[in-house]
């Protein structure tokens, strides 16, 4: 938080538009900060000289709560962090605790988990595309994206009853057997998703104004990206070909063919292209997965009361925003001694200042959009 609760514009220094800088406050209530993020911009005319992100408005103390809940009880809290990709949060946590227990989810559970996580990745990227295009002024894509996302949320609702914070997985496997229409629904969604995504591409990819607004904006070089610990599409757009699903396969990713899109210059346009490709790859994974969902049990024998032997584990998955990691320390009781979440949005947002410096005010909005942050995960 800041030192003095300054009202919106009270500290507009000296002349209104004189030579020296003015401080412009964006947020915490601002149409395009994707949540309660406040950005303090020091402007010289239209150009950003310095920026400081002030976060913490949505801090709920999730890690403190984890120390007062049993492992199963904490699972729903995990969905509330990155509420746009709740299923992948759940997958990360469940797999981390399974590793802590030394248990392994049965193959059927692993395949269903992969399908739902890839659908969630498409949904998260769709929401990103819609709001990002809206910030830059294209009014139409947001409605197309939400129409597609609605299909995915319907599948989630049919499977586990919830659309957003799904709590779809349990430690050790799955709670519910898949409803019999799952393969058909996913097949139908994937089939008509191909020409839907072509629709977005025709609308934006060669659009001169879109290219003008995104090319060369918010450039992040590969070296800076690695140094700043940035992961996910932002890192891949800067030219680093690294994806946890390939590097350290988890769930059932080892059995499927998909490739990792990367680009070179690491500007907003490249991140847009990388995420669009990623949606196509996720769709490809889903199609391969629903071919043969192995039969068999959906829950490993982990018993009702979980008492993992003392020790610690770090397990991370490739969430839509980047590497989502869980560092869990157990002291042998039913409640975790310490749960630390490695939030991709929080660390990616740190790269904002390097990207925004030297750009124009209008680009700040595009840069916040391109990092694709969710404040629930940034603040935890």
């Amino acid at each position: 938080m800041t030192d003095t609760p300054t009202s919106g514009l009270s500290n507009v220094e000296t002349t209104v538009l004189g030579a020296d800088e003015i401080i412009l406050n964006m947020g915490p209530q601002h149409p395009s900060t994707h949540g309660v993020l406040r950005v303090k911009l020091k402007l010289d005319g239209e150009r950003v000289v310095d920026s400081e992100c002030i976060i913490g408005y949505l801090h709920r103390g999730v890690e403190k709560i984890a120390e007062h809940r049993s492992y199963q009880q904490f699972a729903p809290y995990v969905d509330r962090m990155d509420y746009v990709a709740a299923v992948s949060n759940g997958l990360g946590y469940c797999e981390a605790v399974e590793k802590l227990l030394g248990a392994e989810a049965p193959p059927r559970a692993r395949v269903v988990r992969t399908i739902l996580t890839e659908l969630q990745r498409i949904a998260s990227h769709l929401l990103w595309l819609g709001t990002h295009a809206l910030d830059i002024g294209a009014l139409t894509p947001v409605f197309y994206c939400f129409r597609e996302r609605e299909e995915i949320l319907k599948i989630f609702e049919k499977y586990c009853g919830a659309r957003l914070t799904t709590h779809a997985f349990r430690i050790g496997g799955l709670q519910y057997e898949t409803y019999d229409g799952l393969e058909a629904d996913v097949k139908r969604f994937c089939d008509d998703f191909t020409h839907r995504i072509d629709e977005y591409e025709t609308l934006l990819t060669e659009n001169r104004i879109w290219v003008g607004r995104t090319k060369g904006v918010g450039i992040l070089s590969a070296a800076d990206a690695i140094a700043l610990g940035v992961t996910g599409p932002v890192l891949r757009a800067s030219g680093v070909k690294w994806d946890l699903r390939k590097a350290m396969p988890y769930a059932a990713y080892a059995d499927y063919q998909f490739d990792i899109p990367t680009r070179e210059t690491g500007d907003t346009y490249d991140r847009y292209i990388v995420r669009m490709q990623e949606m196509r790859q996720s769709q490809r994974i889903c199609l391969q997965a629903i071919e043969n969902i192995p039969s068999g049990p959906i829950m490993a024998k982990v018993g009702k009361v979980l008492k993992p032997p003392p020790g610690e584990v770090y397990h991370s998955i490739e969430a839509p925003k980047g590497e989502l990691g869980y560092y869990i320390v157990s002291d042998g009781t039913t409640q975790a001694y310490r749960v630390r979440v490695r939030p991709p949005s929080f660390i990616n947002l740190q790269a904002f200042d390097k990207m925004a410096r030297g750009s124009l005010v209008a680009d700040v909005v595009a840069i916040i959009g391109t990092i694709d942050i969710v404040l629930g995960e940034v603040d935890r």
Binding site: S32, N207, I209, A362
Partner: protein, 441 residues
């Protein structure tokens, strides 16, 4: 109706009546253009748009108007009261004054100035004051930035749009709007076909002049909240809104008059008659259009869920049939009435077509950044407009003095200008990264 009023004061009374009609109809028309915009936007975004107020949202504009009237009218505490009150008035009056020279039909024109076009340009350029003073008076940082940006944008795009118009003027040879349409009738060809580049420059310039997307920087929601309109609310805000839509209709009217042949029928010289009557086939078209709409309304009426909506839809259907009837009656009526009614119809159809292009552009393109907008204006549009002017002038001289065939010279001029346009675009494309690297101008 001329004989009712003593002829001596007729030239004074008629314009007043026309004026009252325009000022009365305009807010209604602006309201329904807003509805049209929301419906078209919804259609392009796979949704339905306003459906709740009246059948298919037909009464939505009235609801909006009432809401705006009832809204609390907040004046910022340290605002410059006089300027804050005057600014929206300046905007609306300038927008309405510009209608005085607009030829809605051969007969329906308030004042046929022989500098008609320049007068409209002059008055719409005064509209900037409404924005600039409004931004300054509301004493808030955001609105000042928005006002300065929109002033810079308007001033620079006015030149581009003006030069685009001049190329059409070259062919018409007169500034009076009625004579321009007459010239298009005599030459038997709309100017949009002879000077297409002038038309497109004017199209882009006019979108920028009325602060419409993709040039709607001044009220770009994401950065400057609502630009110069941030501090306005209630009826004062709706004045700005009315001014924006009135400006849109003016700009569409100018484009129709200059490039799309004003009140001329699509094929004015094609005049073979319906067998056995003095009616030209093309004139039957409007009546058919209204009949089609009426049938569609009657087909929809029983489908409406609520009884009241059935009645309203039926009345709308009835209204269309009545309109079709008047069109047919006008066919057999006196010459003046027929010209007036048909001229008005075709003028409105073209204006609506032009506005549809505005709406279409708004929903497909993202927003320009301010420096890109300025670069497009000064580095691409204005030079292109100048080159186009020179090309059309030489083409005209070539066809008149050296006797070349006019159509050929026009096509040559267009091709030449297109070549220059491509060169300019490639220069800008090469230029762009360099400018970015140099930290921009």
């Amino acid at each position: 109706m001329g004989h009712l009023i003593p002829p001596s004061i007729l030239p004074y009374v008629l314009p007043v009546i026309y004026g009252v009609v325009i000022v009365a109809v305009l807010p209604l028309m602006a309201g329904y253009i807003v509805l049209l915009e929301r419906k078209v936007m919804a259609d392009m975004q796979a949704r339905l748009g306003p459906m709740r107020v009246g059948p298919h949202g037909l009464l939505q504009p009235i609801a909006d108007a009432v809401k705006l009237l009832l809204k609390e009218d907040i004046i910022p505490e340290k605002a410059d009261k006089l300027m804050f009150w005057i600014a929206p008035l300046v905007s609306v009056t300038m927008a309405l004054v510009a209608y005085s020279a607009m030829p809605f039909g051969p007969a329906f024109q308030i004042a046929d100035l022989n500098v008609g076009l320049l007068f409209i340009l002059a008055v719409s350029s005064l509209g900037i004051y409404g924005i600039v003073l409004g931004g300054w008076a509301s004493n808030s940082h955001y609105s000042l930035l928005g006002a300065l940006r929109s002033a810079a944008q308007l001033v620079s795009y006015e030149t581009a749009a003006g030069l685009g118009l001049v190329s059409a003027l070259l062919l018409a040879g007169s500034l009076s709007l009625k004579e321009i349409v007459q010239a298009q009738y005599d030459q038997g060809e709309w100017f949009v076909f002879s000077v297409p580049i002038g038309f497109f420059i004017y199209l882009v310039g006019s979108i920028a002049e009325t602060n419409r997307a993709p040039f709607d920087l001044p009220e770009a929601e994401s950065e400057l909240v609502a630009g110069y309109m941030t501090e306005y609310s209630g009826f004062r805000w709706s004045l700005y809104f009315l001014a924006e839509y009135a400006n849109m209709i003016i700009v569409a009217g100018i484009a129709t008059t200059l490039f799309l042949g004003g009140w001329l029928r699509p094929f004015p010289h094609f005049s073979d008659h319906l067998p056995g009557t003095s009616v030209e086939i093309m004139d039957g078209l409007p009546a058919m259009v209204f009949l089609g709409v009426a049938l569609y309304c009657f087909w929809l009426a029983p489908k409406q869920p609520v009884k009241i909506q059935k009645i309203v839809m039926a009345t709308v259907g009835g209204l269309c049939i009545a309109l079709a009837g008047t069109m047919v009656a006008a066919l057999f009526g006196p010459e003046g009435v027929r010209l007036g009614v048909y001229g008005g119809f075709w003028f409105m159809v073209k204006v609506m077509g032009y506005l549809y292009a505005f709406l279409w552009v708004r929903f497909t393109f993202p927003r320009y950044r301010f420096d890109q907008l300025m670069r497009l204006g000064w580095r691409f549009l204005i030079p292109l407009a100048l080159v186009n002017l020179i090309a059309v002038a030489t083409a005209k001289v070539a066809s008149q003095e050296w006797g070349w065939y006019p159509r050929i010279t026009m096509i040559l001029a267009t091709i030449f200008t297109l070549g220059v346009a491509l060169w300019l675009a490639s220069r800008d494309a090469k230029q762009e990264p360099a400018v970015e690297a140099a930290g921009g101008d």
